[in-house]
Structure formats: structure tokens, C-alpha cells
Symmetry: C2
Subunit: 237 residues, 2 copies
């Protein structure tokens, strides 16, 4: 429905809006394609790609159809071509400068994580209020006092930020980030944050993930007890 590439849109209809669910899977396909390339595969079928990405084949074909027709019927997709197309769609053919706020447990892990730089996301500056952390080095970034945030974000052309602070200060930090002109934020603090329109905020809550896991564990253990005919008082545990 949103397709029909009009006349004149020959080379690069790049930023077309994709379904959110598809966007979430594209990085998986990308990784699978990189792996397939390492395995010297020149072409790959939707079936094979699906297996490597952990989804099913019709899903892969539907998702890829949103990008255009980059496959060859009867053959499959050219691994390298498809990789480039997904890379382009995701905007990964350029580099991003990222700020990291909070140099505690999680902040340190994020600052040292190599997976970010490998994909073009460079943590170029870290911030913390703790004087004993300021001045230290975190991965490739210096740890600055929070008071310098706005200044440094602008000077270093930072467009994205990771919030890894305690929940209490997360909203204050976010407000400063917005003031500095940042438009994309990944929040690891377990709290709801408010952003003005035009800023994209995404949340990762590790404790929530565990609680979801706990629900299914709980559900299953309840079923196991029932299956054994032990409605209640199912011995110990």
C-alpha cells in the first residue's frame, strides 16, 4: 500500500517508513547475513536466512519485500547486496556519536562494550556526578562532570545518548540532553520519562525482563504441579 515507487525515484528511495515490527528484525537479518558472508555464502534463501535469524521464512520474505525486490526468484538473495540494502535502510552506512550518562555498574559495561563501535556507534563522551569517576577513562571516552553535558554534546556532534543513571536523576538528565539537541535516547533507568515530540525515546529495563521470565517460570511450575495431580502443597520448593 505505501509502495508504488513513482517515476523518477530510480536510485535511492532511502528513508521510507517501515513497520516497527520489521525494523526490530532487520538488525537480526543483518547479523545473519554477516555470518553467512563469513561462511562464504554468495546467495541465501529466505529459509536459510530465517533459520539464522531465528524467525520463519514467510516473515523474512514479507519483511524484505518492504525494502524492495532484492532477491532472485528460483535462487535467493545475494548476501552482500542484501546486507548493503539493510545497512542503508537502517542508516548504518554512517557513524553516530553517542553520549553515555552514568558511569556506574551498567554504564561501565556499556562504555566497554565493543559491539557498539563495531556497528558504527561511538561512545565519545561519558558523564557522571561522582567526583571520583570524573577524569577517568571509560572505553574510548573520558568521564566528564554532568555540568559539562550540554557543552560537550554540542562540541562533539553527539546525536544519541544512553542513560545509565539511577532512576531518580534520569528525568533531569534527559531534560539536559534534549536541551543540548539530542534526538534519540536509550534509557536503562527503570523509570518512565517524558520527552517532547521529535525526540525518540526507547527503554530497556533489565528487571522487567527478569520479571517477564519469572511469570512464565511461575506459570509453568503451576502447570507442572497440576499435571502431577498435586493441586496444592506440592511438596517443598
Amino acid at each position: 500500500m505505501p509502495v508504488a515507487p513513482g517515476p523518477g525515484a530510480a536510485a535511492a528511495p532511502v528513508p521510507r517508513s517501515l513497520p516497527e515490527a520489521t525494523v526490530k528484525r532487520l538488525p537480526l537479518y543483518l547479523q545473519a547475513l554477516v555470518d553467512a558472508n563469513d561462511d562464504r555464502m554468495v546467495t541465501i534463501s529466505s529459509e536459510e536466512l530465517a533459520g539464522r535469524a531465528g524467525v520463519n521464512a514467510p516473515q523474512v520474505r514479507k519483511d524484505l519485500s518492504y525494502l524492495g525486490s532484492y532477491g532472485t526468484r528460483g535462487v535467493g538473495y545475494n548476501t552482500e547486496l542484501l546486507r548493503q540494502q539493510i545497512n542503508r535502510q537502517l542508516g548504518l552506512n554512517r557513524e553516530y556519536n553517542v553520549a553515555l550518562i552514568g558511569a556506574g555498574n551498567l554504564g561501565q559495561a556499556l562504555g566497554h562494550y565493543r559491539g557498539f563501535a563495531q556497528r558504527g556507534f561511538h561512545v565519545v563522551a561519558a558523564f557522571d556526578t561522582d567526583p571520583s569517576k570524573v577524569g577517568t577513562r571509560l572505553g574510548n571516552a573520558d568521564v566528564h562532570p554532568l555540568s559539562e553535558l550540554v557543552e560537550i554534546v554540542r562540541k562533539e556532534h553527539i546525536t544519541m545518548a544512553l542513560i545509565a543513571t539511577p532512576a531518580m536523576v534520569a528525568q533531569d538528565v534527559l531534560d539536559r540532553l534534549v536541551e543540548a539537541g539530542i534526538t534519540s535516547v536509550l534509557n536503562f533507568a527503570p523509570t518512565v520519562l517524558n520527552v517532547p515530540a521529535g525526540v525518540y525515546l526507547r527503554k530497556v529495563d533489565l528487571a522487567v525482563e527478569l520479571q517477564i521470565l519469572g511469570y512464565y517460570e511461575h506459570l509453568r511450575s503451576g502447570r507442572r504441579a497440576e499435571a502431577a495431580g498435586l493441586a496444592h502443597t506440592a511438596g517443598g520448593r
Copy 2:
């Protein structure tokens, strides 16, 4: 894809199967209720709860209706009662023992994270192959060699695991966890893992989160460039 709820589970008293989307939001309501309790609120409306959880009011009411009727018409929900009910539904009225595999950057952050224990998830043992890490302490857990995994998991009654290893070894680690009888796993390694039926596997991929963020950043910057003469006010939320 992981563990279909499955039919046949009719009216069971406590562990009734909830829609997956609802399960993901219950932890948010829980946190909002704890906060509201701290603010001395005895009752709370769906409107107020929605605001604190970052969702909308009809969504809250629909979600809560799956748990039963714990509200009072014309008044709202009793904060403490609702908190208990959600707690019970999520299976958080008991404690879980958790294994942490991988004591690198991310593993250390997870091992020290206090949010887990606060919610009843206790990391009681950590594992790593690196001899320099084995024997050290990580939060409340000792770091053991990976070879002792099966033995210790059984001895410590561990039912859940966090995989924070390099992608290369994640499948091997998972196989051992399954062998040891673990049924719920949260995987932080950026790779697709295969589990037998009956084991619930959930994945958190930090690089993927950043790539999704990058897509929307890219999309927006493309739009800004296009916004030469087209007055198209932001219609987002």
C-alpha cells in the same frame, strides 16, 4: 515463537495465562504502584496509574481486567491490594535463584545490579572460563569455573539463568544449562540460540536496540533534509 501458551489450560485459579502484551506491562504497573504507595496514595485511578506507567488509561483497565475485578467503580484501585495481586500473578511472591554465566563487562554489571535482588531474583552463582576471574566475588555470588555449572545449578536449586558470554560459546553454555534442568533463560549474547520445548528463552540485544534507535534517527534526519518546502507538522505522539 518461544513457548506457546497453548490451549487446554482452562480456568485455573492463580496461574491463568495472560496475553503476552499484558505480561510485558504488568511490571510497569507494579513499579508505578510501589511509587504511588510511597506517595501515600491509598487508591489510584486508571488515569493516574496510566500516567505513572507510561501507557494510556483504557489499556490499563483492559490489562487489569484480565486479573479479575480488583477496582471499585467510582473510586479506583486500592494501591496495596492491586500491588499484591499483580505480584502474585507475576509469581513474584516467591524468590528465584539465578545463575550468571560470563563475568566480563556485562556480566559484572548484571552481577552487581541491585534491582534484581530487590524483586526477588538472587544471583547466587556466577561462572566464567577465565582462571583469573574464577574464585573472585561478584555481588553476592562466587565465580566458579564453567565446568562446575551443572553440579552447582542443581545443588543451589537454580531455575533461571543469565547468559552474558561471547556469542561464540553461548549455545554450548545454554546446552549445559538445559542439561542442568534450567527452564528460563535470559540471553544477552548477540546470537540466535536453540532450546528444546519446555524451556523459555528471552533475548536482550543491546546492539540491536541501538540500531533501532539509529533507524529512527536516520529516518528523522532524512525527513529534516527533505523539509525544504513541505509543511508537514509532526503528527507523532
